[in-house]
Point group: C2
Chain length 256, copies 2
Amino acid sequence: MNTGKVTLLSAGPGDLDLLTIRAAKALAAADVVLLDDLANPGIVSLAPRARVIRVGKRGGCKSTPQAFIQRLMQRYASKGLHVVRVKGGDALLFGRAGEELAALRRAAIPVEIVNGISSGFAAAASLGVSLTHREHCQGVTFITAHLQDHGEPDWAALAATGTTLAIYMGMSRIESICAGLMTTLPASTAAAVVQWAGTADERRLVTTLGRLADEANAAGLGSPAVILVGNAIGEAEAFTVRGFGRAASEGLAHAA
Amino acid sequence: MNTGKVTLLSAGPGDLDLLTIRAAKALAAADVVLLDDLANPGIVSLAPRARVIRVGKRGGCKSTPQAFIQRLMQRYASKGLHVVRVKGGDALLFGRAGEELAALRRAAIPVEIVNGISSGFAAAASLGVSLTHREHCQGVTFITAHLQDHGEPDWAALAATGTTLAIYMGMSRIESICAGLMTTLPASTAAAVVQWAGTADERRLVTTLGRLADEANAAGLGSPAVILVGNAIGEAEAFTVRGFGRAASEGLAHAA
């Protein structure tokens, strides 16, 4: 009997302490690990039994084609092995899980999904802010600036919701994002960039929407990063002024 | 020297395996645990040294006032104790973390935030869907139907974003939510309710926006639940038809 299966495993933002206990158990039991290059490579220490295959796909870089990754998962699971497909952040937020799930269903391969911490949540934790402070907003929207058809989201419609915006994969077009949002939002709206959120290399910038693009470029902030926009994020300034460790109020801070 | 501090700890959707490793470590070191009643009470087994105080606040029920919870945190932290404030889901998504952080800052009490899995992510994992399948949408919006001023969000503006909607605290007004969304979205839009997502008591309904309110009421689904709306959620039907365990295609399924 073929007992092969695939676990789509969320590696969280980077720090291995931010894996769930369920993720650690799945890794310990893995026969094969397919490792995304946004995941912390140290995660393989939790999978001592596994053959590890790196299948990174970074925007604009040399990468492993999605179809090949899907064939690898199917090939090993069809041999009766437990394949753990490691994805950065939460597997169900961006990151092509929809296509991988569809392919595995077509191949009748059982799938388990293990959730994790997406970088937008880790960024908010580092800034010391709620994503949805009820004095400022009624929700939060996670959006990718990198669309399938290479267009851009409707920034005015997103701004009109009044939700905090957590924008992924937006650093290469941060000027046009900010310009698009400022057709609806005032330039004084609080905004932040957190690069490598939840890792030892984290860098943070807290400012206003009107100054965000210039300041992020001046500081050399780039991918991978989350752009946060909305007055709930403005609570970060009070947070850092009070001396809670790393001072975003100094403009740009590097994690200790 | 006063070494007291507060950890705002995200308990995730319920299953203790969905806690992060960092959360488990914080609980093990806790002197005092303040326990939200949406968190799994079994979590106290991870905090053997701690005095446990239940501070539940459920909509419409007898509850502990927010100001009292904030005073408790400050009182114990001021005595030099490590206070762990346990919140269901992720502490930074709804749940009043913004106010608690502000109060702790005013009192100059150090705070650490530990992220967790919000129930919307757990619901998507149970349904076997990406929240942001790129063939259907460019993001996901988490929104609470329970606003500070007791009004309702602008459902038409939210629907106009084209994002998947994950609606929290909406079961008591599911008819008006669906009606509001249908001013913009077709009745055929995929929709789901997941009650007690990520717990042993989980119940799921997958249908269309036009039928959601009637079917949820007929099935007796109530709080706590997440309402998911958007065609990315429609991928759940293929998922369940293929026999991946618990069949949402049968209309309503109870977790094994």
